[in-house]
């Protein structure tokens, strides 16, 4: 029930259209890229789907992270702008449940977007590499993997937004995090496991290093730890207020 209420709160905030817009732009990205310079990629050896992932996923993942930041900011902005969160605090509902539902909403929309992105990439592969075979299981696995590795980012961003009443502070923090992790050298394995960095990882990159399971486990663990962090924050807030 809380889930439905949380969805309702997003009415007229532009949340869904924003995700939709970002989804469309990110899906247009590989198509435009291929239209502009398809020979660069069609001449490469190897699995077409992986070629396309390598060529486009960095940008698409970055767009996903950026929209996650915007989404988290707007979710908590509606809470704080007119003191809605204060009213929620006086109602018999556990604050952590509100957080959990916000997480669920973001995770679901992101799942839809990622699935769509992977489908578009597959479409590009089918169109520009007509004589190659496709393994649909791998494609599904890729979508699942990319979704899972983006969950810690979602949780961390929601945690930050829940702490900042001023939207632009959470936005600033999010943007700085994106920036910081985009300039760190990608060859450091530990850094790649962190939120805001893991979403750039493609399945084949993780596969080369036989790290898929490790990646998944670490990401689930991080999500759980960050969720615990919010639980503690919600408790501490009453003592600090």
């Amino acid at each position: 029930m809380t889930f439905i209420l949380e969805t309702k709160k997003l009415k007229r905030t532009g949340y869904l259209p924003a995700f939709l817009g970002a989804g469309i732009i990110s899906c247009a990205f590989p198509v435009v890229n291929m239209l502009a310079r398809s020979e660069t990629f069609t001449s490469l050896p190897g699995n077409p789907f992986e070629i396309l992932m390598d060529a486009n996923w960095q940008m698409m993942a970055m767009l996903n992270i950026l929209i996650t930041i915007c989404g988290a900011c707007i979710m908590y902005h509606t809470e704080y702008a007119d003191n809605g969160a204060l009213k929620m605090d006086t109602l018999p509902v556990k604050p952590i449940r509100l957080f959990f539902c916000k997480f669920l909403i973001t995770a679901e929309i992101l799942a839809a977007i990622i699935l769509f992105q992977i489908i578009v990439l597959t479409g590009c592969a089918v169109y520009w590499f007509p004589d190659s075979a496709f393994d649909f299981l791998t494609i599904l696995k890729t979508a699942g993997f990319e979704w899972l590795v983006s969950l810690p980012t979602v949780t961390l961003m929601l945690l930050i937004s829940s702490m900042c009443k001023n939207m632009w502070i959470s936005l600033g923090a999010g943007v700085i995090l994106v920036f910081t992790f985009s300039i760190f050298p990608q060859d450091n394995f530990v850094l790649r496991l962190l939120p805001f960095s893991a979403p750039y990882q493609t399945l084949s990159m993780a596969d080369e290093n036989v790290h898929i399971q490790l990646f998944c486990m670490v990401c689930v663990l991080q999500t759980a730890v960050l969720y615990l962090g919010e639980t503690l924050y919600v408790k501490a807030r009453r003592y600090l207020a």
């Binding site: 900011c73 943007v175 300039i183």
Partner: protein
């Protein structure tokens, strides 16, 4: 009221907003790893570039492609939110100040914030270059006139983009859209600078300018000359148009 005192008023409004922290942190984030990894600048991977130039360009790369634009987007949110959250804008509109002056002053604050970041960035560059020189026993420090002129050019090249972001923030009342649009528009600049039409896309200007520097420092990497035509007139037109639209629409929804 003179424009200057209005500017001081606008700067006062962002007191205690922690914006300087947001300007400072990315600069730190940029230069600390690049100091620590200074050794990597000797590994030029066959590109004909000197380590000190490599250090300068690699360091500024992250700033120009992402952080300068992102700072501007955050700045627009700060400026519009401080006005709208407690309805301060209504008070301002009821005072004897022309709305277009008000709008342009706020834009000037945005540029000022960006310039402050530039000063931080130059300072941080020299600090990190000095430390890296000590660590690696190699002089990484470039001529101050070269560094300052280039940094100024990069930030100056961001003005048209700032005008466009400012227009987004004024036209689009829902913050998520103006911010989202701003941030999303940064990402494709990596692709755009490799096309012939880069000059119609203001978000790519600083990155383009840096890439030309790169081309000068390393033969064959990129163009070595800035294409002033038709870039400059296009940039001026974009800036003037964006600012004109901003001035006309500033506070429009509050005055309805």
């Amino acid at each position: 009221m003179s424009v200057f005192s209005l500017l001081l008023v606008e700067l006062k409004k962002i007191r205690r907003s922690k914006i300087f922290l947001i300007l400072m942190i990315p600069v730190m984030m940029m230069w600390i790893p690049s100091t620590i990894n200074a050794k990597m600048n000797f590994d030029v991977r066959g590109i004909p570039i000197t380590p000190e130039n490599n250090f300068f360009i690699q360091g500024f790369m992250g700033m120009t492609w992402f952080m300068i634009p992102a700072t501007l987007v955050i700045g627009t949110v700060l400026l519009t939110q401080t006005e709208r959250s407690q309805n301060g804008i209504l008070k301002m509109l009821s005072l004897p100040v022309r709305t277009s002056t008000l709008c342009l002053t706020k834009f000037a604050v945005l540029i000022f914030l960006s310039m402050v970041q530039m000063v931080f960035c130059i300072g941080a560059y020299y600090a990190s270059a000095a430390i890296a020189s000590q660590l690696q026993n190699y002089n990484f420090i470039l001529n101050p006139s070269f560094v300052c002129v280039n940094a100024l050019a990069l930030y100056w090249g961001a003005v048209p983009m700032a005008a466009v972001f400012w227009m987004f923030a004024i036209l689009i009342k829902t913050p998520v859209f103006s911010v989202g649009l701003g941030l999303v528009s940064i990402v494709p600049s990596v692709l755009v600078i490799h096309t012939k039409m880069w000059f119609v896309y203001p978000m790519s200007y600083p990155f383009y300018l840096l890439m030309v520097q790169y081309g000068k420092a390393a033969e064959g990497m990129y163009a070595t000359q800035i294409d002033r035509m038709p870039w400059l007139p296009v940039a001026v037109i974009i800036t003037v148009l964006a600012l004109a639209v901003s001035c006309i629409r500033f506070g429009a929804s509050e005055r309805r």
